[in-house]
């Protein structure tokens, strides 16, 4: 990992040196790995993102320094949040909200707290941070509560956070030099497969001045992939095969342990 990171750094240096001059800063980023494989012993992974801020002679000097906010958005998914209530003495799901096409994974990494990077208005407009991300709900009986302090939205964010699928880290980005930063993107074991967008935003004095996007892919390989896709696409065949496997295991056991 470290060797790869160093190679990346070197590559960035070359990139930064080779690009054409521009009026404002340019953002150059590179991910340690664009393809993450989920294998049978997958217990999570960590990707490293390096970024360089490219300036030239015409660039105005910045006194306040740079701020970087990285948003990693996983494939979209529709999820239901249920709320339990007491009915006749037992706890059952009494209410639910459908969150449509929301990120299955969301990591917001910054070099300092978001409210220090930009003001609330800008954060809201750019949908930066877990408080501001759009989580559209399917219209329900009382539509008024899709506001930011909606208990379902809060529970949704909390539950996703407990599964380490949603996170916001105010110290997730480290500046190595004033113009070079790195960030590690943690992918938990439960990470959903699909394409992930990586969106890096550069801020100066509370305003966004540059942006760079890239993508990464998480995919299942080998046996896992085979089992998952067979179960989904050929359910009947998969069921028959599993049943056969059960019968064979049972038969095998009765032969091995035969006593009479």
């Amino acid at each position: 990992m470290i060797g790869r990171a160093l190679a990346l750094l070197a590559a960035l240096g070359v990139l930064a040196a080779a690009t054409a001059p521009a009026a404002a800063e340019r953002l150059v980023t590179s991910l340690s790995n664009h393809r993450v494989m989920v294998t049978s012993n997958f217990t999570g992974d960590e990707l490293v993102l390096f970024g360089g801020i490219e300036r030239d002679a015409q660039t105005v000097p910045r006194r306040g320094g740079y701020d970087v906010v990285i948003t990693v958005t996983g494939p979209r998914q529709t999820l239901v949040t249920y709320r339990k209530g007491r009915v006749l003495g037992i706890w059952v799901n009494v209410d639910s909200r459908v969150f449509e096409n929301v990120p299955s994974y969301l990591a917001v990494l910054a070099n300092r707290p978001l409210d220090a990077v930009a003001n609330a208005e800008i954060l809201r407009r750019l949908q930066l941070g877990l408080d501001n991300v759009a989580l559209p709900q399917r219209p329900s009986a009382n539509i008024a509560d899709s506001a930011r302090d909606d208990p379902f939205r809060r529970a949704f964010l909390r539950l996703q956070g407990e599964h380490q699928l949603y996170r916001e880290e105010a110290n997730g980005v480290t500046f190595l030099t004033p113009a070079l930063f790195r960030a590690s993107i943690p992918l938990p074991a439960e990470v959903p497969v699909g394409t992930y967008e990586v969106d890096v935003k550069l801020f100066v004095d509370g305003g966004m001045i540059a942006r760079a996007t890239s993508a990464l892919e998480v995919y299942k390989v080998g046996f896992e992939q085979f089992v998952t896709s067979t179960a989904r696409d050929h359910g009947l065949l998969y069921g028959l095969a599993t049943s056969m496997m059960a019968l064979l295991t049972g038969w095998f056991a009765s032969v091995v342990f035969r006593r009479d």
Binding site: N41, G85, V92, G239, F257
Partner: protein, 308 residues
């Protein structure tokens, strides 16, 4: 060693699952039951979603009842005619169970239904077993012989039409209660992930007066076919059967069952029934607590099921 369960979407320790298979297999071999009523809750407590647990355990029970059924077949302790009659109801029951499972899952009330069913079923059956076996133990202490079967006594069940003669079991009963029992077992099995052996055996003994010689073997044939078809149906409709999980459970289960069967032979029937009853009751109470005690987290998150 951590392995990733592809359908349950969960990394688990392979030895934990294997040990669970062994332990449940031991118990199932000891008492001559499938062990689904223990395995499904264990998986749920481990973090596997109830839906995946129920669907995957069906294939595990199919494996353990298959090895059992073969053993009983060799001893000629299976009443095939009775098994086929039970199956007629059992397959319909399984299909209805899978249908209800799918429907409840779509409206988000599957977990609670599984929970309540466990409380009601295990509470009742466990309680009855404990009472009955304590009585039997007390009776033998007082020196009176244990009455296992009263061939002369007839119930209203024997007055029903469509009577059939089952030669190997030497019984003459109506087809209606036989099919009804099969239906019930298939239905409960598909919905709750239990083989139903611990329900079926007492039912066959008390309602149909099936002799002890053929009762376990016959019940295993029914369990085998209903659970194998439940696996196919769950896989085809809900895509929730985790074959990797099932395979590890099966391997542990069939090995454990062999040792359990040896341990079981050293104990008296009443004592075994008492232990099994207590076990069943304990699982029922565990589920009851889950329902009654306020959960730590009132909210839960689930992917939206297709077809809604």
């Amino acid at each position: 060693v951590q392995i990733y369960l592809p359908i349950a979407d969960l990394p688990v320790n392979i030895f934990v699952i294997l040990a669970m298979g062994l332990a449940v297999g031991f118990i199932s071999g000891m008492f001559g039951v499938g062990g689904g009523f223990l395995m499904t809750p264990l998986l749920i407590f481990l973090g596997v979603s109830p839906a995946v647990a129920v669907a995957s355990v069906t294939s595990h029970i199919a494996a353990s009842s298959c090895s059992g059924a073969i053993t009983y077949w060799r001893r000629r302790a299976i009443d095939l005619a009775l098994a086929f009659m039970l199956l007629a109801g059992g397959i319909v029951g399984t299909a209805s169970g899978v249908w209800l499972f799918t429907a409840l899952r779509a409206i988000g009330q599957l977990d609670i239904t599984i929970g309540i069913s466990y409380v009601v079923l295990l509470g009742t059956v466990g309680g009855l077993m404990v009472i009955e076996s304590v009585r039997a133990i007390l009776r033998t202490r007082r020196g009176k012989p244990v009455e296992l079967r009263r061939p002369g006594s007839h119930t209203w069940l024997h007055g029903l039409p469509f009577k059939l003669r089952f030669k190997r079991s030497r019984i003459y009963v109506s087809a209606i209660p036989v099919c009804a029992i099969g239906f019930l077992i298939g239905f409960a099995g598909a919905l709750m992930g239990i083989g139903g052996g611990f329900l079926l055996v007492p039912m066959l003994i008390y309602f149909l007066r099936v002799p002890t010689a053929t009762v376990i073997g016959t019940s295993m044939v029914l369990t085998l076919v209903t659970m194998a078809s439940a696996t196919v149906m769950h896989a085809a409709t809900n895509h929730l059967v985790d074959a990797v999980l099932a395979l590890i459970l099966m391997v542990g289960g069939v090995i454990g069952a062999q040792f359990g069967a040896r341990a079981g032979q050293k104990m008296s029937g009443e004592r075994l029934r008492l232990l099994l009853g207590l076990l069943v009751l304990a699982v029922g109470i565990r589920f009851a607590l889950e329902l009654v005690v306020q959960p730590e987290d009132l909210f839960s998150l689930r992917p939206l099921e297709s077809g809604l």
